[in-house]
Symmetry: C2
């Protein structure tokens, strides 16, 4: 692993000075190599699938692991879309002349070496490598052991594309051992790795956060709230609360708890309950909610702290915005929270005071996504406060350094 | 410590919604309280000084510890200058309307709770508290045990000013125990503390970096280089190389190693050596440097990796820009490095390829400073790549969150 890290560090210098044209040429060449090797990719994936079936992996895991023709085409397409994005590297911002005569500004540069740790889905290999490459970084990819053959095959395509574009093959490396200790080594190689992005289940992310000495960009939970204020438009409130829960159940920006102001609860909850029932969503409520609705079981304390990722919703009636924000502070995960209100002052307070990576007014939490935000692509969502917060796109894979331009200037 | 953290977390919510007027009123009231209590501050400081003398602390440490009339006035003046700075909080940037109809932007918000760990100099208590306060954060300050009486007395003034402005006294707390375990607790309270800023000697910063689970903004070394290219203007090169070493010896942006291209070495080094000798700077050189200069002892391998913080300079003759950048990559500390050249292409390469928090062209490394850069003030200098890099001012004590404004928008 140390040798791998050292190679990545050396490659990162070449990547940092690579031209936009060369990086785009590599992305397009990788896309082509993936399409050209579709048969080999499917065959390698077949080996992983067979082993996974033998080990009795669940249907959901098998689905994530599978790399059919459609997913192979999507990988290639994704790389072409990354090639079409603007290159963030080299941009100089805020260049000003100081009283001393020097010019001071900030230049956007790559982070350096990025370690990605992920599970199951082999397409992450191409997606993550592509984004890191475009941002001028070297990447070390550590996928799940269950996808090792697929990941190796994709890595072969990536390296072919890199070499075709004249970029070092070591700028994207896939860890080829399935040894768990490799993760431990990767997340503590401060000397060679600048940042770790873990993508996967909560236990993986918790382990990485606990053991890493390299900085980590991550989110643990997505316990997202919609607060329906008593100054809300009833129809918008119902549409947003319904969409935030039901548009997709398994995503981190899906609403898990609905907070409703007492003054409007009896005008929105019964209708919403009917719609949720029709969609098959199980409701768990506070005593007031249960009193209003026929088919709602009592919520336990644990419910308020649970990311269901399933057709289950907890509902609480609150006094108003202060109690709603207090609930979010206590039980939220600083991911995404939304207020529905027509009151300008309360909208402003919610925006400023709720300490989450995305805060919304009159919109569904399901919009918290790099594509919806216009970032072009995303490597993940961060609930950290340092560096990248919210959906992380190309810019989150870069940093800024100060530059100073003088003409023989010395300090007095 | 847990109770302290919890109080800080609660106070941080009030600080986040505090108005600019209230924060400035607090800063001015603290400045006044410090001036009003100058006698008490000097008396408390006298206790610390007496104890330090008894323990046989060095003259340099005693000097840092001393809080005379001038330093007390400077603390008050510093707080008034922070009050005059623009408030970064609440700024909304890049608000754009997306194809879905939602508006997406980024709002600047406080980090939350900041832990400052520092040594000796009690004036840091007021300076750091003032900067964190202006940026809307709650602060936990942990000074050195040798300054405990001074720090407690300053903390009294801070709390008086906070209460006068109607802000919670818990928004600035000084750890009143001298127990070393308090540092260990502070840097692992993820739940309550958002970031740690260690200020002090290398061993303190290394300990914090090693043991902290809370993110740390820091720099370890300042091994700064000036590279004199063979396309440099001779007079500018000499002026910059002299200034970068001699303007102040003890700062982290002082040049420690001078790299000179072979093509210009005999035209700059002899003159520079005379000037350095007159200033009392000891020279340690590579064999080529020693051959050119009369009074230069051979540099050891260790010299290239040493931050002298003293009138000592290591000098190496290199082939050109590539070997200079290689030397910086191998021996530098990613702090501040400067090239002297009139060649536009080489200036551009140096700016882009040298991976340091400040990279300069034709200017002295001594400019790497929050005041010189126009940040108004600085809490320290960071060589990290995530979040704040280079001198860290008010903006480095804040973060951005995404905000989404809709009008009942749901995701399709």
């Amino acid at each position: 692993m140390q040798a791998l890290g050292q190679d990545a560090r050396i490659a990162s210098a070449a990547m940092a000075r690579a031209s936009t044209a060369d990086k785009n040429a590599a992305l397009l060449a990788i896309a082509e190599a993936i399409e050209d090797h579709a048969t080999e990719l499917t065959r390698a994936n077949g080996e992983d699938l067979a082993a996974a079936r033998q080990q009795g992996l669940s249907g959901a895991l098998l689905d994530r692991l599978e790399l059919g023709g459609e997913r192979i085409a999507a990988m290639a397409q994704g790389l072409r879309e990354i090639a079409a994005l603007a290159d963030p590297i080299g941009e100089i911002a805020n260049l000003v002349t100081r009283p001393s005569g020097i010019q001071v500004g900030r230049m956007r540069v790559p982070l350096g070496v990025i370690g990605i740790i992920y599970e199951s889905r082999p397409n992450v290999t191409a997606d993550a490598a592509g984004l890191c490459l475009k941002a001028g970084n070297a990447t070390i990819l550590r996928g799940g052991s269950e996808a090792i053959h697929s990941n190796k095959a994709i890595a072969g395509c990536v390296q072919q594309g890199l070499l075709q574009a004249g970029l070092p093959a070591e700028s994207v490396q896939v860890v080829k051992t399935v040894d768990r200790a490799a993760v431990g080594a990767l997340i503590t190689m401060d000397r060679y790795v600048d940042v770790i992005v873990p993508r996967g289940g909560k236990s993986l992310i918790e382990r990485v956060h606990r053991e890493a000495t390299v900085p980590v960009i991550k989110h643990l939970d997505g316990i997202c709230h919609v607060y329906v204020d008593d100054c809300a438009d009833r129809d918008k409130a119902i549409a947003i609360a319904y969409n935030a829960k039901t548009q997709r159940y398994g995503t981190c920006c899906t609403m898990e708890t609905l907070l409703v102001a007492r003054g409007i609860a009896d005008r929105v909850l019964p209708t919403l309950a009917e719609q949720y029932a029709a969609a098959g969503v199980e409701l768990r409520g506070c005593p007031e909610t249960c009193a209003l609705l026929d088919d709602c079981r009592p919520a336990s304390e644990e419910d308020w702290n649970t990311e269901y990722l399933a057709p289950i919703l907890s509902i609480r009636v609150v006094d108003g915005i202060d109690q709603a924000m207090e609930h979010i502070r206590e039980h939220g995960s600083q991911h995404t929270d939304s207020i529905v209100t027509d009151d300008l002052g309360r909208a402003g307070r919610f925006l400023r005071e709720v300490d989450s990576s995305s805060v919304m007014v009159n919109a569904s939490t399901r919009f918290a996504d790099g594509f919806e935000y216009g970032l072009g692509a995303e490597i993940g969502i961060s609930t950290d406060k340092l560096h990248a917060r919210g959906p992380v796109g190309l810019e989150g894979l870069t940093t800024q350094k100060f530059i100073v331009l003088g003409d023989g200037h010395v300090r007095q």
